[in-house]
């Protein structure tokens, strides 16, 4: 990614090449994550949330830090240069995975400037991401950190402490809530009496709500907040409204959700809408899009095939003190 392409952009109606690249990554995420779900009934489905995820991180500079939410972070790692087959190995817990089977499966390589997932305690990555912002402010650099987290995670005390600290110290951090309406079986109405974006006022930072299924809108809103942070004007809070179309995990049929509740959102799922717009704008026709799907599916299949040839981590890979 070139630096010129970043930050200065006012609108995402930018060159067709970049628009197509965004589409490509959203589709890659859909296919890659589906493959994970097929192999692991405990995988956390991402379907429907791709516009928020890709839109929040696509325009970052390579030297910025990305701290994506646990649901769907692989595309963020991949956009920043992680190797798909090693991400597949990470998902499968194999030796060639970036954590070699040690961390939770949804982690990635530090070399691409991310905040890794080690355990599954939600909310703590907000602190580590804020710390990236602290380092950048301390250095006087114009790097920024974007961190995303769920609408459920927003109720951890870490949310409050970190947003307040970032505001007090004017840190270059953009907090993006990947608001998918659910926290396992609980619906957001039950744990969010007020919109998350409205909390920003209490911390003295800008807060904005955006349609999380509209990737252009997400890029534009996050992009503005990133520019603000880069200029040294401090943190922002963005609430991207999207929807968890699948279960909490792949095998979860969501019996706690009213029948048909997901349907209006399924009709608005971001990939189909994006594809329609691409066709309308003359950027791609049906043939080109189905060709792209086939090509990406082949890449994903190949990545998993290679990952499966990676051995299970052996006892000698435990590290540290060997068991007695």
């Amino acid at each position: 990614m070139t630096e010129a392409a970043v930050g200065a952009r006012e609108s995402v109606v930018d060159e067709p090449r970049r628009t197509l690249e965004v589409y490509r990554w959203m589709l890659w995420s859909r296919l890659f994550e589906e493959e994970c779900g097929r192999r692991n009934p405990r995988w956390f489905p991402v379907e429907g949330e791709e516009a928020t995820i890709v839109g929040s991180f696509f325009d970052l500079r390579p030297d910025d830090v990305a701290a994506p939410h646990y649901r769907g972070p692989f595309v963020v790692y991949a956009m920043r240069g992680a190797e798909p087959w090693r991400l597949a190995a990470q998902a499968l817990g194999r030796s060639d995975g970036y954590s070699r089977g040690r961390s939770v499966p949804f982690s990635g390589p530090l070399s691409v400037n991310i905040v890794p997932w080690v355990a599954g305690d939600l909310g703590t990555t907000l602190g580590v991401a804020t710390g990236a912002g602290l380092a950048f402010a301390y250095e006087g650099s114009d790097r920024v950190c974007v961190v995303s987290f769920g609408d459920g995670t927003a109720n951890r005390g870490d949310f409050h402490e970190n947003l307040n600290l970032a505001a007090c110290w004017n840190l270059p951090v953009v907090y993006v809530c990947q608001h998918n309406g659910w926290a396992i079986s609980e619906s957001a109405e039950s744990y969010l009496p007020a919109p998350i974006a409205a909390r920003a006022a209490g911390y003295g930072m800008p807060g904005e709500s955006v349609d999380g299924n509209d990737v252009d809108a997400v890029r534009e809103t996050v992009g503005r907040a990133v520019q603000r942070a880069r200029r040294g004007d401090g943190p922002s809070l963005i609430e991207a409204r999207t929807y968890r179309l699948g279960g909490h995990w792949s095998a979860d049929r969501s019996p706690y959700r009213a029948a048909g509740a997901a349907e209006p959102w399924r009709a608005r799922e971001p990939l189909a809408a994006f594809a329609a717009r691409l066709k309308e704008a003359g950027l791609a026709d049906s043939d080109a899009l189905s060709e792209l799907t086939q090509q990406l599916q082949a890449e994903v299949t190949e990545a998993f095939a290679r990952a499966e040839r990676s051995p299970e981590p052996g006892p000698d890979e435990l590290g540290w003190e060997a068991p007695p």
């Binding site: 951890r156 396992i184 435990l318 007695p324």
Partner: protein
């Protein structure tokens, strides 16, 4: 007697206490229609409804703090922390508020709060770290960790009825794996006394939760080799049954402690130290400790399997201890 799983026994105890005492209620994530993590609250919402089975935001510190506050107002809340890995989020409330209130108010304040949580390896294969020893370290907290459905029911009941804060550690491997006899009706297992899981003459093994089963497995093998192992299921970590352990060591002169949690600073270290302090002259061999090595419990199954103590490891520790011929007392 009914044959129930470990999870069903826990839920049964909570349901019975909620029927018996209108001040008992449950706070947790996904305990409503979903039925709790690993179905550990199954059916409670249907029976008791949203006033008494309260789905909470992901706010562990507030959940425990609110439970303590409600307890000071005469309620007897149970807080479900879905997995032990999230206990640290609520640490202040547990170790500084819940633990200290009674002592520091000279007994004016009582904190009848039960905190239940899931630890260890299990079918779900997530959140495997075991933190129970931290809480046994803190005065003012009671800590229980059952290994059988009957004790799960009895200790949960005792925890809810206790006027002090009690943490109930529910080992996940045991959750659905065992179906066993549980007495019908009132069944209370007092907090403190251990359970003699197997009587033996040669070596004492003190174990917790899943490792009780592995110790018994090891004992069956060792019996064929002529080593008669006594297995004590500690089941209550704070307070713990020094009396039963010391009596057993007086008899066998040999002690092995075994738990799934890390060996360093584990509850086994406390037991080993107490036995060394108080029964040194009865020991005929060095005490052996079996626990996880000092590695964060890894995620991938082959690594985790290697870290968690096996029946073979317990067996090997017993063999070494049995071989070591100290002076007979």
């Amino acid at each position: 007697m009914s044959r129930v799983t470990f999870a069903e026994a826990l839920v049964g105890a909570i349901a019975d206490e909620m029927r018996r005492d209108p001040d008992v209620f449950l706070i947790g994530q996904d305990i409503g229609p979903f039925g709790g993590a690993m179905q550990g609250a199954r059916g409670l919402f249907d029976e008791f409804g949203p006033r008494r089975v309260r789905d909470a935001p992901i706010s562990e510190s507030a959940m425990v703090g609110a439970a303590i506050g409600a307890a000071l107002q005469g309620k007897r809340p149970i807080v479900e922390i879905s997995f032990g890995e999230f206990l640290p989020c609520a640490m202040n409330q547990i170790v500084l508020q819940a633990a200290n209130l009674r002592y520091m108010t000279d007994g004016d304040a009582r904190v009848p709060v039960t905190i239940r949580t899931r630890v260890g390896d299990g079918p779900y294969r997530g959140h495997p770290q075991s933190y129970e020893a931290w809480f046994a370290h803190v005065p003012g907290l009671k800590v229980v960790m059952p290994s059988t459905p009957a004790d799960a029911r009895g200790l949960m009941t005792a925890a809810i009825r206790d006027d002090d804060p009690v943490l109930v550690f529910e080992q996940m491997f045991l959750y659905h794996a065992i179906r066993d006899e549980v007495p019908d009706g009132e069944h209370v297992v007092p907090i403190g006394p251990a359970r003699l899981a197997r009587a033996g003459l040669d070596v004492t093994v003190v174990a917790t939760a899943w490792m009780v089963h592995r110790a018994l497995e090891a004992a069956r093998q060792l019996a064929t080799e002529g080593i008669d192992v006594e297995v004590i299921d500690l089941r209550s970590l704070a307070p713990w049954d020094d009396d039963m352990v010391l009596r057993s060591v007086h008899k066998t002169g040999r002690l092995v402690v075994a738990h799934e949690a890390w060996k360093v600073g584990g509850i086994g270290a406390e037991i080993a130290a107490a036995v060394a302090e108080r029964a040194f002259s009865h020991l005929r061999a060095p005490i052996a400790r079996v626990g996880a090595p000092s590695i964060p419990i890894p995620s991938a199954a082959p690594l985790r399997t290697r870290v968690i103590p096996s029946a073979e490891q317990i067996g090997d520790a017993v063999r070494v201890t049995a071989r070591d011929a100290g002076p007979a007392v």
